[in-house]
Amino acid sequence: MSAKPRIGIYGLTSCAGDQLTLLNCEDELLAILDAVDLRSFVMAHSANPEGELDVAFVEGAVTQQSDLDLLTDVRSRAGLVIAIGTCAVWGGLPYLAGKGTAISQHIQVDFSIPGCPIEKSQLLNALSALLHGDLPLELPYPVCLECTIRENNCLLQRGEICCGSLTAGGCGARCPSHGVACMGCRGSALDPNYQSAQQILAKYGYTPEDILQRLALFSGEGFSKEGERVG
């Protein structure tokens, strides 16, 4: 990489929540802008020279030809492409609407940061690793682990369809820590134990379809009909 890495930030079809998460790093934003050579960020900047990039961050799902054109163009110019947010990583709600696909369906993705929206901490850690010429660390645990560390009461055991045991960690178990069942907005965990979650929920009268319908909200193509992780 050159002294200041050339960065591009792009949005396909999405709510812009992952780009906004960067803009919400109010304490760090000016330092970040100083540390990189920002080549494109149309949401926040008018003059965008584009050209070759060291790292491209891409938010959103592919729902139309112009999304695909932009994505292909970005891939051709970027050293690394990082998918930010559940829409880009899994297809998210646009997938559920029958219109969107994850960007990995179309191009090679070098790293994924899931979340709806992504967590500030994970974004900052990723930026920090990239600035040091390294790839960010993937978080190998589910929301359930973070929830247990926080000593929350288990909502699954209470009979609520909580997706925490099947969902990628990194959010600090936000929802269950507020007494609200995890909706799986970060997509599938690395090695989800669907059978176990299904057995527990069966005790409370829930069917596999109930669980899958909840998982399908955000995980897009992340789970198969058998509840196994895909991709």
Binding site: G11, L29, C175
Partner: protein, 427 residues
């Protein structure tokens, strides 16, 4: 000079293009094309259980997610006859105000101010005006702190539920929040001075037809049961289909609206025009100092009106914190309710203007019909009309300058294009 085309308007949320066709000194046509991919929200909620509706609908837009979430909660509750407690209403309002501060600050400081100082964005502007930008970011952060404290997350809250909240904020949390809000309120004085010193570019405009929700009380506010136009026409929120007409656009993924063919404007400037005389305290002082011409003919003052509303939202948030610091927080969970069939139609004032949510449910609480109308879609006809007026009056300034002025004008409306294309196109 026959056609001016801008294929991607920058420093707005989402994807929009503008085409202006000129014939000599005549403006032939203005097309604002919101080409963000169709989102399909209204169809994807069909058949889904009522509890999922607010978190799904929240994903229409990140910047005003709290607005979508709270409006959807109100719609679900109205449909099922659920009455939340005054404490829940106040805490929701607090989260809503946090969004107002965050959204308006993002727009004013990061997206609009660079235009007035001749920069392409905050990154460039920060090199010379670091303190101004840093100040703006601190105010924006205060809005996000509120959203995090009440909503559990700044974007797409996790803590608001049907009937109440998952977890209640603590008094020490509210005390700390109050301190941060107070700091921002003081800092906004410098912002008012800065903005009062700016020259707002003018063009030969016409009186604008404004529209906003009439606040329930005699105070300024964002919640109410009727919607008022600036020519005096007033409609109950649930009769929105009678108060304006949505049209299918051949070139845009959003549905523009007019009232009997007449464009109207919603947003901060509309609210200030209709209800600005209700402001008190520092917001009232700011309004006087910023001298927004009322009735307004120039939409560029919308960003100035947003500055006034940031101050209003900070003061009102502080008042809500004070209320709880005096009265305490009641340890109450969400209210008990019975799932039942019904329709709930609610209008609120989100940062960019009036937002309508209309959801119908069956006896099992599953969605049978959904309609969401966003302020950016409502404003589309107004933007096109004003672009035509601007082009007509400033045709001699040359294409480059015109493009700059067009973009500045579109930006003044603070369009949220992700919001506006939430619907699915019917074949």
């Amino acid at each position: 000079m026959a056609k001016i085309h801008m294929d991607h308007i920058s420093r707005v949320e989402g994807h929009g293009a503008l085409t202006v066709e000129l014939d000599g000194n005549t403006v032939r046509d203005v097309k604002l094309n919101y080409f963000e991919g169709m989102r399909g929200f209204e169809s994807l909620v069909l058949g889904r259980p009522y509890q999922e509706i607010p978190p799904i609908i929240s994903r229409i837009c990140a910047i005003c997610s709290a607005g979508h979430s709270i409006t959807a909660h109100m719609s679900v509750e109205k449909a099922m006859g659920i009455k939340v407690t005054p404490q829940t209403e106040l805490l929701r309002e607090l989260a809503f105000l946090g969004m107002m501060v965050e959204s308006h600050s993002l727009h004013v400081f990061c997206l609009v101010l660079p235009d007035f100082f001749g920069y392409a964005g905050v990154a460039d502007m920060a090199a010379k005006y670091e303190e101004e930008i840093a100040l703006g970011l601190r105010v924006k952060k205060a809005g996000n702190l509120v959203q995090e404290a009440i909503g559990g997350r700044a974007i797409h809250n996790v803590n608001l539920t049907v009937g109440g909240l998952g977890k209640l904020p603590t008094l020490p949390q509210l005390k700390e929040l109050r301190q941060e809000l107070q700091k921002s309120l003081v800092e906004m004085e410098a912002v008012v001075d800065l903005v009062a010193g700016l020259t707002i570019p003018e063009y030969e405009g016409e009186p604008i037809l404004f529209k906003a929700v009439r606040p329930t009380t005699d105070c300024y506010g964002f919640f109410g049961d009727t919607v008022l136009f600036s020519d005096g026409q007033e409609f109950p929120a649930d009769q929105y289909t009678a108060s304006f007409q949505e049209t299918e656009s051949e070139y845009s993924n959003a549905k523009p609206s007019t009232r009997d063919g007449e464009a109207f404007m919603v947003g901060a400037l509309a609210r200030i025009n209709l209800f600005g005389d209700r402001l008190t305290g520092k917001a009232q002082e700011a309004l006087a100092k910023l001298a927004i011409p009322v009735p307004s003919t120039n939409p560029l003052y919308n960003s100035v009106a947003q500055v006034v509303e940031i101050i209003y939202a900070l003061e009102r948030s502080i008042a809500i914190c004070d209320h709880f610091l005096e009265e305490g927080i009641k340890p109450e969970g969400p209210v008990e309710y019975k799932v039942q069939a019904g329709t709930g139609i609610v209008a609120t004032e989100v940062p960019r203007g009036t937002l309508y949510h209309a959801f119908s449910f069956d006896n099992n609480g599953r969605v049978t019909a959904a309609d969401v109308i966003t302020p950016t879609a409502l404003n589309q006809a107004s933007v096109e009309k004003e672009i035509a007026l601007l082009a007509k009056s400033q045709i001699d300034i040359g294409e480059e300058q015109l493009k700059f002025r067009f973009e500045q004008l579109v930006r003044a409306y603070d369009p949220c294009i992700s919001c506006s294309v939430h619907l699915i196109r019917l074949a």
